[in-house]
């Protein structure tokens, strides 16, 4: 076997084959980079030694329902981790082959192999990014990627109460293909499809209404504060900003208490003032509860827009107003044709951002109504009249233990929201100024 290399590029095949046969072999045999080669070879040895466990884990995941000794959810998560290890190994393999070929190219150019000292130095230089990135990679893989894959796979199992829970002995979880998707979206189960349609329509309505009420409420307040130029403006502004400063989880919970049908202070006050004779079911009537959700969300959300739009208004150059005044525009005309269009134009990305935020606004619904009042379908599906998708997912996971259905919904939310979210991010300064 000829271990020497020719500089004309004809030995490329030799290096490639050696690198493919065993990781690091090309480095050791031909490029004489022993340290790097041994490290790479050691990685492959470790992988081969653990390959039995990895394959076992994968097998356990594929045959989810076999065997009673381990919880199926642990089998699922172990299988996904094994899959990640496999992918990682393949990537390292590809990189090692690439690095061997690069090493050979360098050899062709310089006509000699790198000395050991040089290659060790190079290794230390390259070690920094690897060490610095490893916490990020590990954390992202285990707490972002694995959960994501787990969610996707859960949607294809029957993991749910009452018959398919991991804790119950002898009740196994198994793959069921697309049946959850069919039940949820295509009328496979009329209860689920009906609940989904109701929740989806309300989620979209909620997203639009919550965004526009807050936006226009904020614009009007900002305009009043800006145009009227009262002496007490700072006092009003300080008061109106308060809901933004206090955590919304607390204020929404206070509203829930205020609006309680039987003992809430609002009903009590109205009754004692003689305005109403019987209590108003603020949160217990499905139509009224939806209106109340939007009103309370206005209380929480308007100050944010007021703040933003005030900022935009003060940023408009005084020259523009000066020009308008000289042309004889009245105050209302100036506002309608100059201030408002300029502000609107500047805040369009914010409206989209706010829309995606509201679609996912767990707190505004969950802490106020908890998704209630319940509907005819609630006993089976758990979806109440004011539930939006995220609160429904939360309740399906935490209360009803319908994990497979929750996973299907989570996937839908992601697919629908991803384009918006990417749009938002592409619009940020950090994306525009940075390079890939």
């Amino acid at each position: 076997m000829d271990l020497s290399l020719s500089t004309d590029g004809s030995s490329k095949k030799k290096v490639l084959i050696a690198s493919c046969i065993f990781m690091g072999l090309g480095h050791i045999l031909y490029l004489k980079q022993f340290v790097k080669g041994i490290v790479l070879a050691a990685i492959e040895v470790i992988f081969l030694l653990s390959s039995k466990t990895v394959l076992q884990m994968l097998n356990d995941m594929i045959h989810l329902s076999n065997g009673y000794e381990r919880l199926a959810t642990f089998r699922l998560i172990d299988g996904i981790i094994a899959l990640c290890i496999l992918v990682l190994f393949v990537m390292i393999y590809v990189i090692s082959i690439k690095s061997a070929l690069e090493g050979y190219n360098e050899f062709c150019l310089e006509g000699r192999t790198k000395s050991n000292k040089e290659s060790i130095q190079g290794l230390f230089g390259k070690a920094f990014p690897i060490i610095a990135l490893s916490p990020t990679v590990i954390l992202v893989v285990f707490f972002v990627i694995v959960p994501l894959v787990f969610s996707i796979t859960t949607g294809f199992t029957n993991w749910s109460k009452p018959d398919h829970l991991a804790k119950a002995f002898g009740t196994n979880i198994d793959w069921v293909g697309f049946s959850n998707y069919k039940d949820m979206f295509f009328g496979g189960d009329t209860e689920w499809t009906g609940s989904f349609a109701g929740v989806a329509v309300w989620t979209v309505c909620w997203g639009f209404l919550a965004t526009f009420t807050c936006y226009f409420g904020g614009t009007i307040l900002a305009a009043f504060l800006y145009e009227a130029k009262l002496k007490v403006t700072p006092v009003f502004r300080a008061i109106l900003i308060l809901p933004y400063a206090i955590p919304s989880i607390l204020t929404v919970s206070v509203w829930k208490n205020l609006l309680n049908e039987s003992y809430g202070p609002i009903n009590k006050t109205l009754r004692q003032l003689g305005i109403i004779s019987s209590n108003i079911p603020w949160l217990n009537d499905s139509k009224l509860a939806k209106v109340v959700c939007i009103l309370v969300n206005m209380w929480v959300g308007v100050p944010y827009f007021m703040l933003l739009i005030t900022g935009q208004m003060t940023a408009i150059s005084a020259d523009v107003y000066e020009a308008a005044r000289i042309d004889g525009a009245t105050g209302i005309q100036t506002f309608m044709y100059i201030t408002l269009p300029l502000v609107l134009y500047q805040t369009v990305p914010l409206i989209i951002m706010s829309f995606t935020h509201n679609i996912n606004n767990f707190g505004a619904i969950y802490f106020l109504t908890g998704g209630n009042p319940s509907t005819a379908k609630s006993t089976v599906t758990g979806a109440g009249a004011t539930d939006i998708l995220v609160t429904w997912i939360y309740k399906l996971t935490m209360n009803d233990m319908q994990y497979c259905k929750a996973a299907v919904l989570a996937m839908l939310v992601f697919i629908v929201l991803a384009p918006f979210a990417i749009f938002n991010f592409i619009n940020t300064k950090s994306f525009k100024e940075g390079e890939l």
Partner: protein
């Protein structure tokens, strides 16, 4: 001519009065729940079910605060939350700025692939993987542990924050660290003595957002923490109104204690945050 001017000035006065009325009504609507909460927090009643509709009419006492500190684990919750916030903040700053530095300054295999996957991953709302995170936390024995929650928070905000810091570092000229390298400094030293000081504004912004994030988060602590000694403030306070017995007076006292630092922080940091937000968020 005089008539017209007079007319305009009357119009102006009418407008001002109208605005005043609207703003007063809005302010009352804003203040009503806040005043009600404050009055409940200082009420001597055990529950607000039979409270007077006029604020502070039930009398004034610090009973609720005494109950909070003596009968409940309130101080423990503050300590837990503080621990959580500090750990999340420190770890996020170190991990995100290190990886941002690597992405900004090094060329290596899969760099682009990793950056794009970060971009895609920061799109997922965290609750998508909620149940899986719960299983993983159980798997590694971090159930009911604060450090498990720290891991969840830190890893959840890595993708977005890495991008944020990286794009800031991209604006710092590379000649600076090259000069340091010629002087014989290694990467670690360059990072801490050259990059870190220059990137201060974005690091401070990162520190503030990661520090304030855990204070009022509900979903993950609720899922992971199960004993009162390990609760965070949000879970502890929310439990008062989630249980079947209404403890709204206690909730009000706890909410006031939490809100006061938030409002002070907001007023003090408003300017700093808006500039930081400007850098991070949508281009104005």
């Amino acid at each position: 001519m005089e008539d017209k001017a007079k007319n305009a000035s009357t119009k102006r006065t009418v407008f001002k009065v109208f605005v005043c009325v609207v703003l007063t009504i809005c302010s009352l609507v804003v203040l009503y729940p806040i005043i009600y909460t404050i009055s409940t927090a200082f009420s001597p009643l055990m529950t607000d079910a039979n409270s007077n509709i006029i604020p502070f009419a039930d009398g004034f006492s610090t009973l609720q605060f005494e109950r909070l500190f003596l009968d409940e684990d309130y101080l423990l919750w503050v300590k837990n939350t503080l621990f959580l916030a500090i750990c999340t903040c420190l770890l996020s700053v170190v991990v995100c700025s290190l990886s941002a530095y690597v992405f900004s300054r090094f060329k290596f295999a899969m760099r682009k692939g990793m950056m794009i996957s970060m971009l895609v991953l920061q799109v997922f709302p965290s609750f998508v993987g909620m149940i899986a995170i719960y299983v993983i936390i159980n798997r590694i024995g971090a159930a009911d542990q604060l450090w498990g929650l720290v891991l969840v928070y830190v890893s959840g905000n890595i993708p977005y924050n890495t991008w944020l810091v990286k794009s800031y570092l991209d604006t710092i000229p590379k000649s600076l660290d090259e000069a340091a390298r010629i002087d014989g400094a290694n990467h670690m030293k360059i990072f801490f003595s050259v990059i870190f000081p220059i990137a201060k504004p974005i690091i401070i912004f990162l520190a503030i957002t990661t520090f304030t994030g855990p204070w009022m988060d509900y979903i993950f602590p609720k899922m992971i923490l199960s004993t009162s000694e390990h609760y965070t403030l949000a879970i502890g306070i929310m439990r008062f109104i989630e249980s079947t017995t209404n403890k709204f007076t206690l909730f009000a006292a706890g909410a006031i204690l939490v809100s006061v630092p938030f409002v002070i922080f907001f007023v003090a940091g408003q300017k700093a945050m808006t500039t930081g937000l400007g850098a991070a968020a949508v281009k104005g």
